[in-house]
Amino acid sequence: MRFGVVVFPGTWSDCDFHYVISEVLHQPVKYVWHRDRNLADLDCVVLPGGFSYGDYLRAGAVAGKSPVVEALGEFVARGGFVLGSCNGFQILCEGGLLPGVLMRNECLQYRCQTTHLVVDNVDTPFTRGLRPGQVLTMPISHGEGKYYAEPDTLRALKARRQIVFRYATGDGQVVRAANPNGSLENIAGVASETGNVLGLMPHPERASETVMGGTDGLLLFHSLLGTLVEDGTFLKR
């Protein structure tokens, strides 16, 4: 699978995703400049974390109108996969590819910490190798990660099973104490109706090697690549 990692001015998880995709997953990967509209040779586009355009307006607002994000509409329509993490999730919401919005953390401070995520929907390309209710561990690092959607939108999200990850305790309880940023109903990750666009605030690329503290982030990639069996263990290469 051919991956493209988008670079906006102010992106900083681009090198980390590139490293994990090429050095850990051994998949072909290239950087995509924010002014580029040509995504024809890619199967999966990654929108990484960072502060695109400084996030001086609203996080992701300027990047959401960039040429590369405008080109994503057609890319998604023809079945391409899009993964947005952290600022990438904010950009997907601002660009209209995912519903809802990410607001300033409830504590009004930046948060860098480990979180646990419970998997609500295992029928997306990014989660099909996971068990329903499986708990993943991944770090977050953001100041604006409080997910919000209008009541109608939330109802629709639930009806279409677009809520993919919720912040939870280590044993999978979705409780307020496990919510690091005040997100509505502990929502940490959301997919598009078709499932091929996934946005989440946590950083899967920072949980992709044992030495970095865990490999749960790889499960998203292995699901996508079809290199997982159902019980969440890796297929032998």
């Binding site: 001015p9 102010g10 900083w12 998880s13 090198c15 980390d16 490293y19 994990v20 050095e23 974390g49 960072g50 502060f51 355009y53 400084g54 996030d55 001086y56 401070q109 930046y110 948060r111 860098c112 910490q113 770090p139 690092s141 100041g143 950083h203 690329e205 920072r206 992709s208 090697e209 030495v211 970095m212």
Partner: protein
């Protein structure tokens, strides 16, 4: 020249921070009266902050050479070779004065400044450490400073995309009117691709790149060279305003333009801005520079040459390129939406010539600017020391040791700083193997088996009581932290935070501290690669505790062999390595429990220190030490408590520590060269054999496990639930900030 400029007089020079002698010297160097613009250049470059007038004579004593040293003091930052073709570039700098006046922007631009020092060398910044000192966090004014400083660091570092992996925060009333904000940055570069701040090649173009110039920060360097009074609030316009997004673009553009091969030299516009770069770069290369000031990109109207030269607007660099390759430079900066404007040429006349629309407004020999006055001012041992040394801590009543340990764990200096660290991105770059909260942070070097360990340290109380020994202990402790991770210390960077050097007692403290650092660095065989001196940390005549902050970088050859401070499993043997001599003098116990700052420090044997660190590294490298933790503030009892409470799951211990004159000395006495190590029962014999080879004093003191921390000394026992210690440690600082 512009007609509205003030007339140059001695009074005007004084108003800009120059002395009468310095003013005479300027006239002598120029052979005439300076113009207003020229006087501005001298006032900035001859400020204490830029010229190190009072400190240079002492700084010469620091050891600055080693086989693996690639760049010592004198450039934007120092560099050491870590092998496999890689070098580590690092430096520490203070931003104390701006942070007191405007905590958020002061701290933010402190981070921005040191990041630029690292990437002007061609290195990508991979880690930030912050060494912060404040007054009592129970005080609301101090809390406002802490909140501002921490959020400023968080904002700038996180947006830029460099992880904050370490540092320390300590509290003492002496910092209430003058907090310390020291920031260390560490970068990674190919050893053969280090760039330097040179202006070589007569006729080569000089480019101004990055942010536009405004009126912010004019005379920032001069402001940082004076003490504070009630009027300090009015100095707010001298604090710069940061833009981490532009800094990030500048980083990427600089590293990219360096790859073209068109760059001859590059320097960050930090203190004294354009004035500093246009004089220091040619001064280093024996050349001159001729610049047209009206070409400088400006974001305010009607700025004078004086203002443009002295502005400390952030996120700017001066770059000398190879003639004929100007378009390559412009193309890269255009890609990153940044200004890159040719403002002049390198000349051979050894002068800085500044023109405005062609008309000359300043001509000054660059040597005269870069080579400021040097003073050898009187020093004298403070009279207050005799009384402090005569104080005998054993005249104090002995409290219940269990209560004392709980109080120490809850002392803000010792307690968890998670409140601050969770506001910092600690992992961007996916290199951080050991996160903040252990003795040192550890980062892997991708593509190699290596890792680096980094730590900062500096105990102002110890330096106050005995500057020479206290400063030597700071070097030892920072290096010991690195050794406890399993890394071999390679280099030191020092940030010297002191009061006014015009007071002989303060200058004595400084001179003694430098001597102590020099002795320790020689004994441990680590060079000083560069650093920063911050004098005038005084408000209304009260100086801060003399605080040298020492940053150490070390290398681990096998990143798979590391140790951290927390106990890993029950049933492991606990050893105490190092000498038994400790003292309550200057200890955290004496302050937190008895409210006293007095006494004498424990003896320091530098040869012993070297051997203990070498033994710890050997134990970690052989995979024998499952935990290694340096004994610092709070003595061996706090060291054990931290081992118990800082792991993923708390683990108690049962220990008997060496006896001393009194139980509180045995539990809480502080002394150098001591490390607590845990060892799996299966490997006890191997460990004993290794210790026998290392020729250091050591002993088994107990075993990990259980839900209580039990520490015995003679008939006296500390016995406390590990959960109670954990709660005290977690909430001790945070309860003030919530």
């Amino acid at each position: 020249m512009a007609g509205a400029e003030p007339k140059v007089t001695l009074d005007l020079a004084r108003g800009l921070g120059l002395t009468a002698e310095e003013y005479d010297r300027i006239i002598e160097r120029l052979g005439r009266e300076p113009s207003y613009t020229e006087l501005g250049l001298f006032s900035a470059l001859w400020s204490e902050h830029c010229a190190y007038k009072h400190s240079r004579v002492f700084l010469k004593r620091l050891p600055t050479s080693a086989p693996h040293l690639l760049q010592g003091p004198g450039e934007n930052a120092g560099a050491v070779d870590i092998g496999d073709g890689w070098a580590i570039v690092f430096k520490i700098e203070s931003h104390n004065h701006p942070s007191f006046i405007e905590p958020f922007q002061g701290a933010a631009t402190g981070v921005g400044g040191i990041l630029r020092d690292i990437f002007t060398m061609g290195a990508r910044p991979i880690a930030i450490l912050d060494s912060l000192r404040f007054g009592d966090p129970a005080d609301s004014r101090t809390r406002r400073l802490i909140e501002g400083v921490v959020s400023g660091i968080s904002w700038y570092g996180n947006c830029f995309g460099c992880p904050t992996v370490g540092g320390e925060i300590a509290f003492a009333p002496e910092y209430a009117g003058n907090p310390l904000v020291n920031v260390m940055c560490v970068g990674l570069v190919r050893a053969d691709q280090i760039f330097r701040a040179r202006a070589e090649g007569v006729g080569n173009p000089v480019f101004y790149v990055g942010n536009k110039t405004g009126r912010d920060g004019i005379h920032g360097a001069t402001m940082a060279s004076a003490t504070f009074d009630e009027e300090s609030e009015a100095k707010r316009p001298t604090v710069q305003v940061g833009d981490p997004f532009t800094e990030k673009l500048l980083l990427e553009a600089c590293l990219e333009v360096m790859q073209t091969g068109a760059v001859i030299g590059i320097q960050d516009m930090g203190a004294a801005g354009l004035a500093c770069c246009t004089s220091e770069m040619p001064a280093r290369s024996g050349t001159g520079m001729d610049i047209e000031i009206s070409c400088v990109p400006q974001r305010e109207t009607r700025m004078t040459p004086y203002e443009i030269l002295l502005s400390e607007s952030q996120e700017r660099m001066l770059l000398v390129a190879e003639r004929g390759r100007e378009d390559e430079v412009r193309r890269v900066f255009a890609k990153w939406d940044l200004d890159a404007v040719e403002i002049g040429r390198v000349t051979k006349d050894g002068a800085l010539t500044v023109r405005q629309h062609g008309e000359v407004v300043a001509v000054v020999p660059v040597d005269a600017l870069a080579d400021g006055p040097r003073y050898e001012k009187p020093i004298s041992r403070p009279s207050w020391l005799a009384d402090l040394e005569a104080f005998d801590p054993l005249t104090l009543p002995e409290p219940d040791p269990t209560d004392a340990l709980v109080r120490l764990c809850a002392s803000p200096t010792i307690a968890s700083k998670d409140w601050a660290f969770r506001q910092y991105d600690q992992q961007v770059g996916v290199n951080t193997l050991v996160l903040p909260g252990s003795d040192a942070a550890v980062l892997r070097i991708k593509g190699t088996r290596k890792a680096i360990a980094v730590s900062t340290d500096g105990n102002g109380r110890q330096v106050f009581l005995d500057p020479r020994r206290g400063a030597a202990m700071a070097v030892c402790e920072a290096a010991r932290n690195v050794s406890c991770s399993g890394a071999r210390p390679l280099g030191v960077t020092d940030c010297m935070n002191f009061g006014s050097p015009e007071r002989p007692e303060i200058l004595w403290q400084f001179a003694e501290a430098i001597e102590g650092i020099a002795q320790a660095c020689r004994a441990l065989d680590v060079p000083v690669v560069g650093g920063n001196v911050s004098f005038y940390n005084e408000t209304l005549g009260h100086a801060v505790l003399p605080t040298p902050v020492i940053g150490v970088v070390g290398v681990v050859d096998d990143a798979g062999r590391l140790a951290t401070q927390s106990f890993k499993a029950p049933g492991q043997r606990i050893a105490l390595l190092g000498p038994e001599a400790v003292s309550l003098g200057g200890s955290e116990y004496l302050w937190a429990v008895h409210g006293r700052l007095a006494g004498r420090l424990a003896p320091l044997d530098l040869e012993m220190e070297r051997r203990v660190q070498s033994a710890v590294r050997a134990a970690v490298g052989a995979g024998l030490a499952t935990a290694a933790h340096d004994c610092a503030e709070g003595g061996v009892a706090v060291t054990l408590a931290e081992g118990a409470v800082t792991g993923a799951a708390p683990i108690g211990c049962d220990v008997t520590v060496p006896a001393a004159t009194r139980a509180d000395v045995a539990f809480f006495g502080e002394g150098p060269s001591r490390v607590v190590v845990t060892v799996e029962p299966m490997r006890v014999r191997e460990f004993e054999a290794l210790m026998a080879e290392s020729a250091i004093p050591w002993r088994w003191i107990g075993v990990t496990g259980g839900e209580r921390v039990v520490i015995r000394s003679g008939s006296c026992v500390i016995d406390v639930a590990v959960d109670r210690l954990a709660h005290a440690w977690r909430s001790g600082f945070e309860r003030h900030m919530a």
